[in-house]
């Protein structure tokens, strides 16, 4: 006999497809914010499913800090080609060159905070009214209160205390000129769900997620990859380790973990046994207890 209920991954998938279709129906010019990380890859995969047999009706937008893993860029370009989608790149380097933002100074300088200006500029110049992100509520405490459809004012800012109530599956995407929305189709997914889904759907992801040998340094409690952008102090030492990344971002701040998980089965097993959150290796979240909320208010992802 047929069972008339869904297992939880099917239910999450169906919910995400519903959200993506709502975005398409309610907005004029939505894009997927594509970082090359697993969450935005999953969102892109879901968009493909949501509109099949039509092509993905969204452009992919990449906010490029200029400090990339080369593997991520290649992955992005291959995927764009496969989907036949349009790529929009917002360049942090250009924002710096134009004097829109100034580079941070010192050893722990990153371009993380600078991305916000580039993102908002790209949203404005491309007349984007909804940016679809791979944000999940389990990632971080400020994100736990995000809506599926999240309003941004005409300065691109999030007002967490004055969010529109979101009931049932009735999403309100109405906005005034100059405002925009962020949409989060995988809000209700956890890191474990994302990995189980990648495995089930056999979704290709950048090789960086699998254990590999890499030159790294130990900084702020995780293995930071060696790159041309990294400034070492005299006590830091470059070593070669077998590592993999749990999240992918700017190469200067994305920490890896030591691991032997070189295939999806092993990754799922490893994640299930993890005792630290994935963002625990992200220097950007460690700046203060409310680092994520403060950046999100400004208009961050």
């Amino acid at each position: 006999m047929t069972k008339y209920y869904l297992n939880y991954l099917d239910e999450l998938e169906s919910e995400a497809i519903f959200v993506l279709r709502e975005v398409f129906a309610q907005f004029q010019n939505p894009v997927i914010l594509f970082s090359g990380g697993k969450d935005s890859i999953v969102v892109t995969h879901l968009a493909r499913k949501a509109f099949y047999p039509s092509k993905i009706p969204f452009a992919l937008m990449h906010v490029d800090t200029g400090h990339n893993f080369p593997e991520t860029i290649k992955f992005r370009d291959d995927l764009i080609k496969e989907l036949g989608a349009r790529l929009i790149v917002g360049s942090v380097q250009e924002s710096i060159d134009q004097g829109r933002v100034a580079e941070e100074k010192g050893k722990n300088a990153t371009r993380n905070a600078l991305q916000t200006t580039t993102l908002l500029d790209a949203i404005e110049s491309n007349k984007i009214d909804c940016a679809i992100g791979g944000g999940r509520r389990d990632e971080e405490k400020a994100r736990a209160k995000e809506r599926f459809f999240s309003h941004r004012d005409d300065f691109g800012q999030w007002d967490p205390k004055n969010q529109r109530p979101e009931l049932w599956n009735l999403f309100n995407g109405k906005y005034f000129e100059g405002e925009h929305f962020r949409a989060f189709p995988i809000s209700n997914w956890t890191e474990m769900d994302v990995w189980n889904y990648i495995k089930r759907e056999n979704i290709s992801i950048p090789s960086l997620y699998f254990a590999h040998e890499r030159e790294v340094i130990w900084r702020n409690g995780s293995w930071i990859p060696n790159s041309e952008y990294l400034i070492l102090d005299e006590r830091e030492e470059i070593v070669t380790k077998k590592i993999r990344f749990r999240t992918l971002g700017d190469i200067t701040i994305t920490g890896g973990i030591e691991s032997d998980a070189d295939n999806l089965e092993k990754i799922v097993e490893e994640v299930a046994a993890m005792r630290h959150t994935e963002r625990g290796n992200r220097a950007d979240d460690k700046r203060s207890e409310t680092a994520m909320e403060d950046r999100k208010r400004q208009g961050y992802f």
């Binding site: 869904l6 949501a50 509109f51 047999p53 405490k141 529109r164 009931l167 109405k174 993890m274």
Partner: protein, 418 residues
């Protein structure tokens, strides 16, 4: 890990800081090993800074800066945890009267509600309010946790007294499934692990209860309703004439070959195929997202609803609704609002306020005609065009509406069709 049969259960927790709600959620996450070491570390640091002894479990659930400073939960926060039996989503909402709107929001998608009662104080106005909202939003399962049993010497009489009080007032509510569990969130009794202090309690602890609730009947599988979200017309090779109606089945089951009607036009046809990216299906049910093609070429667009021809919702322009007002600015009599019902949007007007409910006494008030933030009232609404309505009690998906004020674009009210 097997994921094939694991279902998703969404539950809401209503209560104030004093009830120990945040402590309960913290306990549930902590004892089910759903909290990571770096989160525990962060909470230990904050607990120390604030001068608490040990780990303040409540800190696991407080999110935003203002809340952490004031020590209250001001918005709905979502939490996740998984056990080998189920995946859980918690909608954590504040319990004070001024946050009724957040409780309603959290309750709107929940399978179950946890209502916390302080064993020392028994059923108070707030308890009644929470139970009322749970019944108003038709949450299928209610679990009353009688908390702080440690402060009444784990006494069975204290527990029975609360049950008596609850049964007395809840007989007026529309609740299908209600259970009582004596717990101590602070010490962990009957949350994840069975209490050794209350051998007189023979029922299951809270987590085991949540893991075994029968939830697959929570979604209506009888009345087939398919609100069209968008039309897929690829016009690409192999799909030149493809015209798929994309949407998520709101309720019921659709099968290939079913005789269907398209509302509001009333045109009829048969289902030619039910498609997904992966495969073509023989049948599909709520809440699956699919794309449906029909035998005949009919003009269908977003906002239309496909239903089985022998079971149709009512097409109405005048509807009676239990309305919860969510906005700071009060309702404007006879003003126009955008009304959203499934994927359909129309213009609507509140024609009449029938009565308002005093949310503390649950008494009706037919005199007071002002609707302000957090008010719950029964109203008559008129829409510019008919909408395809089921009663909320029969169908949460097609019996719910929101109102949007187009001068601010804010969602100002949520309504349940009577």
């Amino acid at each position: 890990m097997t994921i094939d049969n694991n279902q998703l259960l969404r539950f809401t927790t209503a209560g104030s800081v004093d009830d120990g709600k945040s402590t309960l959620i913290g306990r549930l996450l902590y004892d089910s090993k759903s909290i990571f070491e770096d989160q525990i570390e962060a909470v230990e640091n904050t607990s120390k800074k604030k001068g608490h002894e040990g780990v303040d479990l409540a800190l696991f659930t407080d999110g935003l800066r203002d809340e952490r400073e004031q020590g209250i939960t001001i918005d709905v926060a979502y939490r996740y945890f998984t056990t080998p039996k189920r995946k859980f989503i918690i909608a954590d909402t504040p319990g004070h009267i001024q946050y009724t709107r957040n409780m309603v929001t959290g309750a709107s998608t929940a399978n179950a509600a946890i209502i916390l009662v302080d064993a020392r104080h028994g059923v108070i106005e707030q308890t009644k309010r929470h139970a009322f909202i749970a019944s108003l939003l038709q949450i299928p399962h209610i679990i009353v946790c009688i908390n702080k049993m440690d402060l009444v010497e784990f006494n069975e009489d204290a527990y029975n007294k609360v049950i008596g009080q609850f049964e007395e007032f809840s007989s007026k509510l529309l609740v299908k499934d209600i259970r009582f569990i004596p717990i101590s969130a602070l010490l962990g009794d009957n949350v994840v692990n069975r209490s050794e202090n209350m051998n007189w309690y023979q029922g299951a602890p809270l987590l085991a209860t949540l893991e075994t609730l029968h939830i697959s009947s929570d979604t209506n599988k009888v009345d087939a309703r398919f609100p069209v979200q968008t039309v897929l017309r690829p016009q690409s090779e192999g799909f030149i004439d493809y015209r798929g109606y994309a949407g998520r089945i709101a309720s019921g089951v659709f099968r290939k070959g079913d005789e269907i009607s398209v509302l509001p036009s009333g045109f009829t046809s048969k289902i030619k195929s039910i498609d997904t990216f992966d495969t073509e299906l023989e049948e599909a049910f709520a809440p699956m997202s699919v794309s449906i093609t029909l035998e005949d070429d009919i003009d269908i667009s977003r906002g239309d609803m496909i239903v089985r021809s022998n079971n149709k919702p009512e097409a109405l322009q005048d509807i009676e609704v239990m309305l919860c007002w969510l906005n700071n600015s009060p309702a404007k009599p006879r003003a126009k609002y955008a009304i959203r019902h499934t994927s359909n949007e129309q213009t609507a007007m509140i024609k009449e306020i029938i009565y308002k409910i005093d949310i503390n006494t649950l008494e009706r008030n037919a005199e007071d005609k002002e609707i302000a933030m957090n008010d719950i009232c029964k109203v008559k609404i008129r829409t510019t065009k008919p909408i395809m309505i089921d009663s909320y009690r029969d169908n949460r998906a097609t019996g719910s509406i929101i109102l949007v004020d187009e001068s601010t674009n804010e969602t100002v009210a949520a309504g349940m069709v009577v």
